[in-house]
């Protein structure tokens, strides 16, 4: 094993780029980096006045990047003879498409948000930086590249959260994000150091091999693993590292909050799943789990950690969301709850017999979540624009005045709750299936009942819109043309995939992730 080639350069000659294998597979990431520079230059050259050039350029760049992602195929390793830096496979491609789609929608939302933030060019630069980091992250297979990409995503996130310079809340959001974020990064870096020191390699696969071979009683390893997990938990807004999330999502511009809630979270899951898929735990045979036994089978340490974190995350998110009336803040808590559901399914990736199903479920869920959550954030964006308020009471009677918008929003909320016949139900069903398959009935029940609890707060906007009559104070959301098209475009998949065709999409997702399941 040639360990740490990047750090020690023991075989000096290998570090030249022409020896790097399959460099072309990195095309999307490379292109996104180029786009950062392009946007920067464009911003410098034409600095006067607002321009519609930026969003179109951005969208074009995103489409090209998506094309590059799709054009790749198979399972390609980028790196040196015996050292992989990146693995470009179905799982990575699936997540990269999620990032890119979320970014495209965010660009559109920002344009249509009607706010003159100024500095449009800057925002696009940051956005492409974030995308490059996320895409790299989704394919990273070793610690150094992973950490750099992780920090790239974090820093761009801080900048985007503080994009509203004029608002105190925006500044608070960015401040909190930076402080919590740097602490989490530091903790994670410490964890990585411990692992690196013990394993002597930066390759995930190598680390897992060493960990599995090592005596499980080495405390430094588990401290390292826990600390590293903390970094992920922070990014995914998982318990107990979720405290930044409501404040940041509330203070950030709504489109940015949506981007953070979907893309940033997806990035953390993408890399987390890649690592988890490397750790084989003997799959539980469908059998007869003993009742009263919290962990139905002999669960590994990592599994226990994930399950406990997930249950706490979803419960905390849902309970805290119950009292919210600020829609943007409510969606922040709801995104914490959804991180909990996703974490529960992630813990099942460790089990070899359901790993593929769990990966498929999470990939599928992100595709659905992209539509329903960004749809909800888009409506919040419009509320801020036209109603000057993101409180649910601002929606009073709106459903009667704007039935199409109201209906679409109800469908999104129902989908977020996870009720049939929407795609949200299917997504949740797929998420919980591996959990039940492995016999964790208690945790599945907690998760499912959490869904019922979430109904209470998701029903609040429905109640305001349809159960209350409009009065003279009711302002309308100026949602016509392109705005409405966006709403409808995000709603239609929720219904269509809820009753028909989700099987096909799930099959595609399954085929995409199947390669990873087999290590």
């Amino acid at each position: 094993m040639s360990s740490l080639p990047l750090l020690l350069a023991q075989d000096g000659g290998k570090l030249s780029a022409d020896l790097m294998q399959n460099f072309g597979a990195m095309a999307p990431e490379m292109f996104l980096c180029v786009m950062v520079v392009v946007m920067l230059v464009v911003d410098l050259v034409r600095s006067k006045g607002p321009s519609t050039l930026y969003p179109w350029l951005s969208l074009g760049g995103i489409v090209v990047a998506a094309g590059l992602v799709i054009s790749g195929s198979g399972d390609v390793t980028v790196g040196y003879d015996d050292f992989a830096a990146l693995r470009v496979d179905g799982l990575g491609r699936l997540f990269k498409l999620v990032f890119l789609a979320a970014a495209a929608l965010t660009v559109l939302f920002i344009v249509r948000s009607g706010r003159k933030y100024g500095r449009e060019g800057e925002f696009q630069v940051i956005l492409f930086g974030a995308l490059a980091g996320m895409c790299y992250l989704a394919s990273a297979t070793e610690l150094i590249g992973f950490y750099v990409a992780f920090e790239l995503v974090s820093y761009t996130g801080y900048l985007m959260a503080g994009y509203r310079l004029d608002s105190a809340k925006g500044a608070e959001a960015a401040g909190k994000y930076v402080i919590f974020g740097s602490v989490a990064s530091a903790v994670m870096l410490f964890g990585i150091t411990l692992i690196l020191g013990f394993a002597g390699t930066t390759s995930f696969e190598g680390i897992v091999d060493v960990l599995l071979a090592a005596d499980a009683g080495v405390p430094a390893l588990w401290v390292g693993a826990t600390f590293t997990f903390a970094g992920f938990a922070y990014k995914a807004a998982a318990f107990p590292f979720q405290f930044w999330c409501p404040d940041v999502y509330e203070g950030a511009p709504a489109p940015v909050a949506g981007f953070l809630a979907v893309a940033s979270k997806a990035a953390a899951f993408a890399i987390g799943l890649r690592i988890l898929a490397l750790v084989p735990v003997a799959g539980g045979v469908v059998g007869t789990p003993e009742l009263g036994q919290l962990f139905a089978h002999d669960a590994a340490f990592l599994e226990k950690l994930l399950i406990v974190a997930s249950v706490c995350t979803m419960t905390w998110g849902n309970l805290a969301a119950l009292r919210q009336t600020n829609l943007q803040r409510m969606l922040a808590y709801s995104s914490i709850a959804h991180a909990g559901y996703l974490l529960l399914a992630s813990s099942m990736v460790l089990r070899t017999d359901v790993a593929t199903d769990a990966l498929m479920a999470i990939g599928f869920y992100f595709l659905i979540y992209l539509c329903m959550n960004l749809g909800a954030f888009w409506i919040v964006t419009m509320m801020r624009r036209d109603l000057d308020s993101v409180d649910v009471t601002a929606l009073k009677g709106l459903g009667w005045k704007q039935p199409l918008l109201g209906t679409c929003f109800v469908i999104m909320l129902v989908s977020l709750t996870g009720l049939p016949p929407t795609a949200g139900f299917v997504g949740k069903l797929l998420l919980f299936m591996p959990v039940i398959h492995e016999g964790f009935y208690l945790f599945a029940a907690i998760g499912l009942v959490n869904g019922a609890v979430s109904l209470y707060y998701y029903a609040k906007p429905m109640r305001e819109m349809f159960l209350k009559k409009p009065d003279d104070d009711t302002k309308l959301i100026d949602c016509v043309g392109g705005d409405m098209a966006l709403v409808v475009a995000l709603t239609v998949p929720l219904v269509v995939l809820g009753v028909y065709g989700w099987g096909d999409l799930a099959s595609v997702a399954r085929d995409a992730v199947a390669i990873v399941g087999g290590r």
Binding site: L419, L448, G451, A452, A459, R463, F466, Y500, G503
Partner: protein
Amino acid sequence: MLLTLLTFLPALGIPFLFMTKDVKTQRMIGLATSAAAMLLSIWLYFQFDPELTVLLADTSQFGFSVPWISVGDAFKINYSMDVDGVSMLLIVLTGVLGFLAAVNAMSIQKNVRGFYAMYLLLLTGMFGTFVAMDLFLFYMFWELMLLPMYFLIGIWGGPRREFAAIKFFIYTMVGSVLMLGAFLAVYFQLSAAFAAPEFAGQALNAFSIPDIIAHQSLIFPGNDALRMVLFVALFIGFAIKVPVFPFHTWLPLAHVEAPTPISVILAGVLLKMGGYGMIRIAFPWFPDAVVTAWPWLATLGIVSIIYGAAVALAQTDWKKMVAYSSVSHMGYVILGLASMTEEGINGAVIQMFSHGLLSGMMFLCVGVVYEQAHHRDLNRFGGLLKLMPKYTFVAMIAFFGSLGLPGLSGFIAEMFVFFGAFKSELPHAKVFTIIGTIGIVMGAVYILVMIQKVFLGEPREKQLHPFKDLSFREGVTLWPLAIGALALGIFPTPAFDLIGPALHSWRKPFVAEIRGTEREAGSLPPGLIEIRDAVEAVQTEEGK
């Protein structure tokens, strides 16, 4: 395909609602669509051969199954529907009540289009639930009912409608997610079991309700505790809908706040979903758990009967009284089903049908007076007999039927339930039954007190509102139900013929389970059990 047509016929009316702005036309569309669904359901009833009790068999009349969704080879979901006698009876009930409630809803003024759109969607959900034979499909229809109901109560309901709507919504959803969890657990067990070589040629599907029932013994064989947990999860899911004490607290609120036509549907059809779910899913999947849980089931049934009656007695709000009477009457269903005798289960299903007719009538009756008096305070009425003789006549059929007066449907149902429960071989059945009969007395008390307060005596609020007697439209909604209640009370044979064969074969695994338990417990010497079985077999043959 006829069942697909029946299910989606109501939903087909929704687009037409949005083509016209004229309120009257919208009402006509709602009415015509529900009338068409009713006629189709009745036509299906006359076509139906109740002797075909095997669901989704090649011989089934209306049954079919086509592949719907599959994810690789991971799982396959079929779009499958079928009916047996029990679901046929409930479909007819849904069709009839669906139309009559739509007639009643013509008095709704607020956003007529929205009302009928939600209402028709609800009808689709109800029909779908009764015909779905695939778990996924069943669950979809089951949940499809929630959202329209939320809006129907929440928008068109009474003063506390918002709270009532969300309480109904969350209660039902908690129940249904527990159900979903149990579905998935059973699904994984059986799909693993069905992969065994012995089932190679049989094309079994672990989402198919008949396949699961036929192979219920393969669900966690030997693990009684886990089977019990799954049964309890399913039972709670359905018990919330029934509702069985102590899961009933959503019901009075929802019933009282809902507009009259929705109260009718809620009491008449939606509560039957719970009973139907137990018959179709919870009970036959875990016959052993049902037999073990008998004392608990009987207790819950009896507590519901007595508690519902006692609380109904204490009400001053007329509609609330009727709502609590539902808790009481649905308790009979649980008692009858759990008794596992031929009489008991037939009585339970007849009680479901009878309660659908009678509670629908009672809510309509309350609605007639409420629309004129604008209050429902029992203590402020009086002498309606003199003011509204025609109305009083119909109302008496409803309330006396509910009381269990011989000659009306309620009597037949309750009598069979108590006969069955008394005859049951399950432990302490006689004690439970005797305690349960207290409910009959209490039922008589609250109904008679109410009749005395409302209909007898001198008219008290004559000056305030001139009570007009039954209008034509009100008569149209009430009389068919009254005739149904009378017909079922005097000549119930067609109903028993319809449900009898299906319930007869439905009961077999439970009987086997009870006999098996007896053998284990040694309560009867083995020889005696065989003799008794032989005698009963001969009796059954003679009966045919």
